[in-house]
């Protein structure tokens, strides 16, 4: 019994250690000396398995709600999903006490479809997917446009004329990143784009979480002479940064490009090897949809597509000093061309071969 007691004591002490950390994590900004606008609307959000603290997609979505709760008297309810089969109960539970429920991520598609169908008088919004229900707003991004600009930067920055891409799972959504990026490279550096178009320097990890896999894939690419790698692979990208950092410490000049959020800020210790990040403004999307709801402008059934024009995607604020001003200027010119429709960025890797960008100097 003595041993059990000892175990018990150590568990309690261990718990104490963590309790200290738990406090600052308490969500739902309690104390607000209010000059916020009144509203009786209630908003909920269900994350995918990445959950809070993924420093990317889910955090960005939550950031949008944090912003709205500073302007209006709403306290968003947030549920994390432990596994895929919790999407549906989470959405259901949020439906009970909220007017608008967000589902973050294309994986929620089926669950959102079922719950929205069962609750026609509630409003829903899904990110990165299209749910064809009259009460669901589907918010999607033109990842290919933002990725195109990353391709421009990569095409200009490479010294070895070899560029790589690491994706999470080889599927339509991620292929948009890939296609846009390669098109961007092709526009400024057709030679470097060749091994991307034939997918020789394209790698898929098969998931979005395996950091070690990301590290391995990045090491392979860098060792084959690649010096710039762009990732669209969630947590796998951390492995890419680790590999780049290690090589840089070993005296090689290699670069990585981040995705979804400003990763030089979210992963500060790797900021020196991150050229820039492709911003996917999920926060803007959740903020805008919430504001629409509060101001009674919410349009169910609408498919919103946010591109460069809508500032839904773009270049991060933090840009590595190594990126020269003329490169940024060039990227800016391409951005204008995309916004005004001169350039139509391909969404499928197979279409890049046929893609011809107008020469911009």
């Amino acid at each position: 019994m003595k041993k059990i007691l000892a175990l018990l004591v150590s568990v309690v002490l261990f718990a104490g250690l963590f309790a200290g950390c738990a406090k600052p994590n308490q969500p739902g900004g309690g104390a607000t000396t209010d000059n916020r606008k009144q509203t009786d609307k209630k908003i909920g959000l269900a994350t995918d398995e990445g959950g809070r603290g993924d420093k990317s997609f889910n955090d960005a979505a939550i950031a949008g709600l944090d912003k709205i709760s500073k302007e209006y008297t709403v306290t968003p309810q947030i549920l994390e999903s432990k596994a895929a089969d919790q999407y549906e109960p989470n959405l259901k539970a949020l439906t009970q006490s909220n007017d608008l429920v967000f589902g973050v991520g294309f994986k929620m598609h089926d669950a959102m479809d079922a719950v929205a169908k069962a609750n026609p008088n509630k409003k829903y919004a899904i990110i990165d997917s299209v749910v064809e229900q009259p009460n669901v707003m589907s918010i999607n991004f033109k990842e290919e446009e933002g990725s195109f600009l990353m391709g421009v930067i990569a095409g200009k920055m490479t010294k070895t004329n070899k560029i790589g891409f690491i994706g999470g799972v080889d599927m339509e959504l991620i292929q948009k990143f890939e296609a846009g990026f390669i098109a961007g490279v092709k526009a400024v550096n057709p030679a470097a784009a060749e091994d991307l178009i034939n997918r020789k320097n394209v790698r898929y990890a098969g998931n979005f979480i395996d950091v070690n896999k990301g590290y391995e894939l990045a090491k392979q690419l860098y060792n084959s002479g690649v010096d710039v790698i762009y990732h669209a692979a969630g947590g796998v990208g951390i492995g890419l940064f680790n590999a780049a950092k290690e090589l840089k410490n070993g005296g090689k000049t290699v670069w990585a490009i981040g995705v979804d959020s400003d990763q030089a800020l979210t992963v500060p210790d790797k900021a020196d090897i991150i050229l820039a990040s492709m911003m996917k403004r999920v926060d803007v999307a959740t903020y805008t949809a919430s504001k629409d709801l509060i101001e009674n402008n919410f349009q169910g059934g609408k498919v919103v597509v946010l591109g460069l024009k809508e500032d839904g995607v773009g270049i991060s604020n933090t840009i590595n000093p190594a990126v020269t001003k003329d490169v940024l200027d060039l990227a800016d010119k391409y951005k204008k061309a995309i916004v005004d429709g001169t350039i139509k960025v391909p969404t499928k890797p197979g279409d890049v071969k046929a893609f011809q960008a107008p020469e911009i100097k």
Binding site: N25, P89, A93, M171, N207
Partner: protein, 366 residues
């Protein structure tokens, strides 16, 4: 221990005594786990002990049994745990550690998601088809490490872990490749003819799979204590030397136990798809029911009826993750409670093991 359970003629007092002894540790572990969880809430939320207690228990109660919806969801989680818990129990009884229940479950999920897509079958054919498919898939997945253990002597723990990864990556390959539903990280929804009846309405995921699970508890009970198979696998688990002496083939029974264990896990996967999920999703990690099933079987001390209660406990905790988050208690508290329970139950096993060694140790030191 459990062998007493079939002694119907035992005096009531003896039954109560042995039940008390069997249940003591699981109950203590649950109470301590809850207590530690309360301490967390008290520290984390900066509330008093009683407030913290009421906050936590209210949230767990509301989220698990407190309302019709939560009660239903609890049993949605209980359903697959019944299968994975029983699958682990069968292996434990044979003295094997089948960590591969997770992979066997996954492969059952995958096969059902594939077979469920066949069109033009009536439900009366389609449902038995997926059930048999799930059982076979899981049985093969469990049988391979069982065969290797028996014939080559490779450790079943290592092999089943590898089989778990093979199952996961195979599943992801199929789900994201040949059978991908465009734009979604899953296979298309299975045909209605392959779906189990959701007897509380289409919007409630509870389905007849629960009753299949309950029936299986009875079947495993009979298997353990009324059949020659159970007699032999328990003998192998309790004393392989005596089993061998009694003409019981250790190898045959190891393979058999892994096949049965895998079959039950695969059936669980089939029920999960057919009743709850209706497709196979891309897996960023393991689904988790197989691993939870280890904890369930440990807590249940590998007794089929214990599996029912342990599944309800774990199902209730999983289900209450929602209501906990709604009162701003992180869902991780659920993992914490489950983890402490497992630590305690494991400590019980270790304690007993040490107890048996203690005398000998004393002799060595003496």
């Amino acid at each position: 221990m459990t062998a007493n359970a079939n002694n119907s003629h035992n005096s009531l007092l003896n039954v109560l005594k042995s039940t008390y002894r069997t249940l003591l540790f699981p109950l203590i572990s649950i109470i301590v786990a809850m207590f530690v969880a309360v301490l967390f809430v008290v520290w984390g939320r900066g509330v008093g002990f009683f407030e913290g207690t009421s906050l936590l228990f209210k949230a767990i109660w509301n989220g698990s049994f407190g309302s019709k919806d939560s009660l239903i969801e609890t049993f949605v989680y209980v359903t697959p745990l019944l299968f994975t818990g029983l699958a682990n129990a069968v292996a434990f009884k044979t003295g094997l550690f089948n960590i591969g229940v997770e992979g066997q479950f996954t492969i059952g999920v995958l096969i059902t998601a594939i077979l469920g897509l066949i069109s033009g079958l009536p439900a009366i054919v389609h449902i038995p088809l997926i059930i048999v498919g799930g059982i076979l898939a899981g049985a093969i997945w469990g049988g391979i490490p069982g065969y290797l253990k028996a014939k080559v002597g490779t450790n079943e723990v290592v092999n089943t872990i590898m089989m778990n990864f093979i199952a996961m990556y195979l599943s992801n390959y199929i789900v994201m490749g040949p059978l991908n539903k465009p734009g979604v990280a899953s296979t298309p929804e299975i045909r209605p003819s392959a779906m189990l009846w959701r007897f509380l309405g289409e919007n409630n995921r509870l389905n007849t799979g629960l009753f299949i699970g309950l029936l299986l508890i009875a079947l495993v009970y009979i298997l353990f204590w009324k059949t020659t198979i159970g007699y032999e696998i328990r003998a192998v688990g309790l004393n392989p030397y005596a089993a061998e002496y009694g003409g019981i083939s250790i190898k045959k029974n190891m393979i058999l136990a892994m096949v049965i264990s895998g079959g039950i896990a695969g059936l669980g996967g089939a029920i999960y798809v057919s009743g709850i999920q209706h497709n196979a999703m891309e897996l960023t990690g393991f689904i988790g029911y197989g691993f939870d099933g280890i904890a369930v079987a440990l807590l249940a001390k590998s007794h089929p009826v214990g599996v029912l209660f342990a599944s309800i406990l774990f199902g209730a905790l999983n289900s209450s993750a929602i209501s906990l988050q709604l009162v701003n208690i992180p869902k991780q508290i659920v993992f914490l409670i489950q983890a402490i329970i497992i630590i305690f139950v494991a400590a019980d096993y270790i304690y007993k093991w040490i107890g048996e060694k203690r005398k000998k140790e004393a002799m060595i030191n003496g």
